[in-house]
Symmetry: D2
Subunit: 418 residues, 4 copies
């Protein structure tokens, strides 16, 4: 029931390792060392911290345990770059990460390189199976942080009154046609969800298990900006009956009137993206994103439908190609008509993030990776436009509190068939 | 899918009405008007407010709609005693309830009597079916508030440095033998949960629906004080690895070291109850209560087991007698060896409080009763020693945030069979 | 430098004692025991607590020390009704006072009577000089609480959506003519301020000491509601340049747009008082009250003047009769044309509350009475319409944080002569 | 009553301008661009922001008004680098300053250089008197920010678990002999305080005015670390009777047990400085610093003395040489036996920060410089080891809330002569 052992030949693991690690640094290439210091909301971390923490992960869980004679670059990093693993060491408070001007970016890059050499050395020597399993876990961990890094940088640029652009060039994100949406129908019955087979999966995707599903229909395409605008114009944010009680409280407290990153200028809605600012009217067919789970839920109620459960979502997605607008497209923003269930935006489900029947956390400190967060969070599925393509799969479970909006998070409609 | 129509003959509904309404006032007989003003924590309301709000419920949802020519006692009460129904009116902030010295208790009792007469008049005239359905809903609503009233009074007396006793007399709560606990085993398969049939149920217990359950074993008796003390003495509150991340945060922030209402005197643990203060050593075999969901979860992990899901709990409970130490016993505290699944303490489950497949809230303002709270709450099952006996059933779903401790809340262990 | 010894003959002290003590209970006569439980803002305490705490003061500082063989009614009261004297005992948190349904009002009255008898017994036996000095201190303490009791009840009735009236009958408070205001001019020079002579004074009014004052002119009458309304209509609450930075923050955070207890109904300003609700237009000539120090300061700046320092205020007030609209008038609200410097409203000054040169707190626990609050508070002078007449004098220093509005607090204008 | 006009010849103003401006940049030379992004407490700003804001001050108050045809480098900077001048523009929330990765440090330096050229051009052309007056104000403003920059960097390095050192080299700060302290005695009488004459002063130092002082004695040297350690060892932080009520609350809430920047290692007190970490035992004779006003006040009470008022302090200081351990010494930490009243640490006084009699704020937006902060702050006097020597004078009034500890703030004892 643990993550399945990895069976890549040496050269494959090593070259995967090198390419994922390189990717993190490439994503930072439009950033200055100063950009990489910013932490603009409690959810976010500085980009430099992401680079350091992902190295820490390999050092802590692989090198210190499996590479005989490994010499850490700096003993302080063991706890300085620990995120939340109590079994490893105490940790600096999260909000302090923006204070770590030292070590400098240059030093952090040296730390990465120090770790990289040691990992490659270990692989070359023939790493034990458990070490290799953890290296693959570390690469998946790194991909999660690649996504977070972009999410966080987007927020930090948004909080900067000068509204910098992360990257101008890339495929066009406007001018796409309307998606053709149909409802895929599934009959009642016992289905199986959760990961099985050879490939990598996190412990929270396991074990594969049976579920009963009542007959349902699920949209083949997510909700668009134009549709969400209708909800807004129909007074969606003013009608308490559309909202969960906590959602309505959030609307009042946070003064939500539109998704995050939307703002009005001369009466017209604008949208801030990693690629610059666009008029919403030019992005009407694009999937709406940066919604809280409450907004997703309220929209669905307004539309006379509901959010899918994660089992419904997975059942439908498993029959679809795992393609879409993912990180590698370079769009860095949802675009219309790009795949069906994967990429573009994470999709809020109706399911609380809990352990599957028979769930077991990884043993030891790595058990803190996923399991301890199984309260008051909601499952999201499908990956987004900043998720690496090799990182997503039908069984993948992302999770955030329903109040979260800084993620690329949207929704897809579903309904019970009667 | 609505609550099933009620088919009691007139006299039956009227006499049920009279007896439930009388019960609320009887519960207040040990209290002074001053006691009935106290609101000692954000979860609680003053006892006087409970009396008024339960009258308001009948006035608002029955009399104003169904009794032709009904004259309210005071038009201001329409919103003064509204708890959270946005579709009815604005409401005073919850924390203001402790400011309502006016209307006086005497006036509130007059209000209750005014409403009682009108309801009985309506029943006598032959109430329309929907009116009668709502009267039954109102009685179930009132029973919920009877339970809350006692929970709240317990807390208010606890916050009073003089530690008043609610009621001295009653059946002995100490000196009971150890419970005989066995594990009931269920095979994998499709089960059905949720309410069906004739009797009353809340909308959130509907519809009855199928679920797949993997084989599991569930304890026939809940966890006791003596067992919980072992967890404490084994350092349960000091080991982060036993806790969900949010639970560990709560332990730190709230400085939890024992269940609510436990305190140490001369090195020995004491327990404050509605019946006075006892030594924990005299209550060792009693079910432990006033735990948060996090403590319940940490205990289960420490014990090498887990909490049951609500479907597992209901599947097992449905085969057991709906008896136990409930309000009518007069014990007002859990006692050892009193039934199996019902009474004594609400039991935290592993399930988030969400709508069942096909769930529909009641139409109109009454739809706000249950549905809008379906986020960040956890299901509890089974009723407690302050739950009226006629109020509990196997399908009953109670729900609170996992951090809540002021309820009579404990746990029962479960495990997956493999 | 201690409060001057008291030289009343026995009968005088005893009869003063009896009459002040009776006054507290008389003020409660319009209140129910439920009213006396309410604590509607952090500044306030329940009326019942005021009754108990003032008895506690005599018990703690007089009876326990000076009455041989005194038997307390209840040993728990020593700390239960302690407000803030760390040298005596720990204290319940202030916000818990609303939880003290027990002891009941009847029991608190019995406590008062128990203390009264003992004090009168001590006086009859011939109390030592220090005991008698403390009895007089206790009576002044009780008068302060009489004023607070009314202030707190006013707020509690305001927070009650039914807006009860404390007392209907009493002298008319509307329909008074406009006050004749002149500016009294004082030349530069060395003046003396602070208490001297035989009568009672708090330690913070001592010692009498010299101050240099530059020439100033001070208004003979305070600012009226009509004048304050002009400030409001001129956009006073919208112009940051009129406000201290902290005042402007308070305006934003608290959404202040008018004094406390003003509200708009059908476009007209209404004013809630202890005597019922009136139209501001009928109270235009009355002194404005329930202002924060920030509002007082902003008004003065808008008017091209400033607040007086406490030395300026006292210098002018010392030449005026100590008459005015005080508690005994029964008006319970400021009225136009009632005296010059005393009664109606406390007046914010430009002075921080600090010790006078040579200030010494009383020895022992009583030193905590005044001295420890000498930070971040502002001096107010002159007494209000709920101050007992025998309690006010030119040297009296009241003090509250500038953000406080629940007091009967207004202002008088001043300017520097050049 | 405005700041006195400046009468430096052109070359003098220009060379002063160049040297003060250069000083700011020199202070940043040990810092990386990443260091200059950190904002580690609500009082602090990033070093880069200090550099930009001080340029903004000249641009806003001098160039935009007085240099015909001046072209701002970037129109957005007008509000981006506004600190708190409401009359100029809205401002970004203070806590956002850590998000301003753009403009980059390089760009900010270009901004400074752009402003510098323009100011020098204006001076060369012959600036109007008011422009020159504002340039001098701007230089004093810049010196204040130089001091803040070092204070803020110290805090940011302290929050960094790696505890970087700002500057290793410099004069020795340990190993100094004990200071010889005597008490200087002043007779009762009318004194004059406040600025007069030709040199620069802030508006809050004006006008010079008379005050009456009762006879007092004031120490010629401040309190040392060794003396403060005695207070700590005598239980100073455990005795509520030594503290103002708000101070005692702060001790509890903040868990203060020693001055800021003190920490224990192996049972010995260590002290973090801009020059590295030292044992307190090696700095025993140095003035203690990084005290809140409450700690200063409690120490004085423990010592049987009191803090001086600002008038007492100024009266004594005016007779002493304005020398001491100031920024130019390079010590960057208080040292024993360096002058009498100036340098080393700011000294908390017993005076609230209020306007002097006849105080007038500067006209227009510059009136927001000082006047609007005259509430709930306490005056400190004398300058510190990071105050530029040309910036301090006997009449200089610094001010912070009493709870502030991040400043180089200590105390000097005083007592009333009787």
């Amino acid at each position: 029931m643990n993550p399945t052992p990895v069976s890549l030949p040496y050269s494959a693991t090593a070259s995967l390792f090198a390419s994922v690690r390189r990717q993190s640094e490439t994503l930072c290439s439009p950033l200055t060392p100063e950009d990489m210091m910013v932490q603009s909301c409690p959810e976010a971390s500085p980009a430099k911290w992401h680079l350091a923490h992902t190295a820490w992960f390999f050092e802590t869980f692989v090198l210190r345990e499996f590479l005989h004679g490994y010499r850490p670059l700096n003993e302080d990093y063991l706890w300085l770059f620990n995120s939340y693993y109590n079994a490893i060491s105490a940790q600096p408070e999260k909000k302090l990460r923006a204070c770590f001007s030292r070590p400098s970016l240059a030093e952090v890059l040296r730390y990465r390189s120090h770790v990289d050499s040691a990992i490659l050395e270990l692989l070359e020597m023939g790493a034990p199976e458990e070490a290799e399993r953890r290296i693959v876990l570390g690469l998946n961990h790194e991909q999660q942080h690649q996504e977070l890094l972009l999410t966080d940088i987007k927020h930090s640029f948004w909080m900067n009154p000068l509204k910098p652009v992360y990257k101008l060039e890339g495929p066009a994100i406007t001018g796409r046609g309307a998606p053709v949406r149909e409802f895929l129908v599934y009959e009642s019955g016992v289905y199986a969800t959760g990961h099985s087979g050879e490939g990598f999966a996190f412990d929270n995707e396991l074990p594969r298990h049976r579920v009963w599903l009542d007959s349902f229909a699920i949209a083949s395409q997510p909700v668009t900006c134009a549709e969400y605008l209708e909800f807004m114009q129909d007074g969606g944010y003013e009608q308490p009956e559309l909202w969960l009680a906590e959602g309505w409280t959030a609307v009042q407290e946070e003064k939500w009137r539109a998704p995050l990153y939307w703002f009005q200028e001369d009466g017209e809605w604008q949208l801030f993206t990693l690629r610059g600012t666009f008029s919403v009217s030019d992005l009407g067919n694009s999937p709406v994103c940066h919604l809280s789970g409450y907004e997703a839920e309220a929209f669905a109620r307004w539309a006379g439908k509901r959010l899918p459960t994660e089992a419904e979502w997975e059942t439908a997605a498993a029959t679809q190609p795992t393609h879409g607008n993912l990180l590698e497209s370079g769009a860095l923003h949802p675009v219309a008509n790009a795949g069906t269930f994967f990429g573009n935006t994470w999709e809020w489900t109706a399911s609380a993030y809990l352990g599957y029947p028979g769930y077991r956390a990884l043993p030891g400190a790595l058990g803190e990776y996923n399991g301890k967060f199984m309260s008051n969070q909601t499952v999201l599925r499908g990956g987004s436009c900043v998720t690496p393509a090799s990182h997503i799969r039908p069984t993948y479970r992302n999770f955030f509190p329903s109040r979260t909006r800084w993620q690329f998070s949207g929704l897809r409609l579903c309904l019970t068939q009667e």
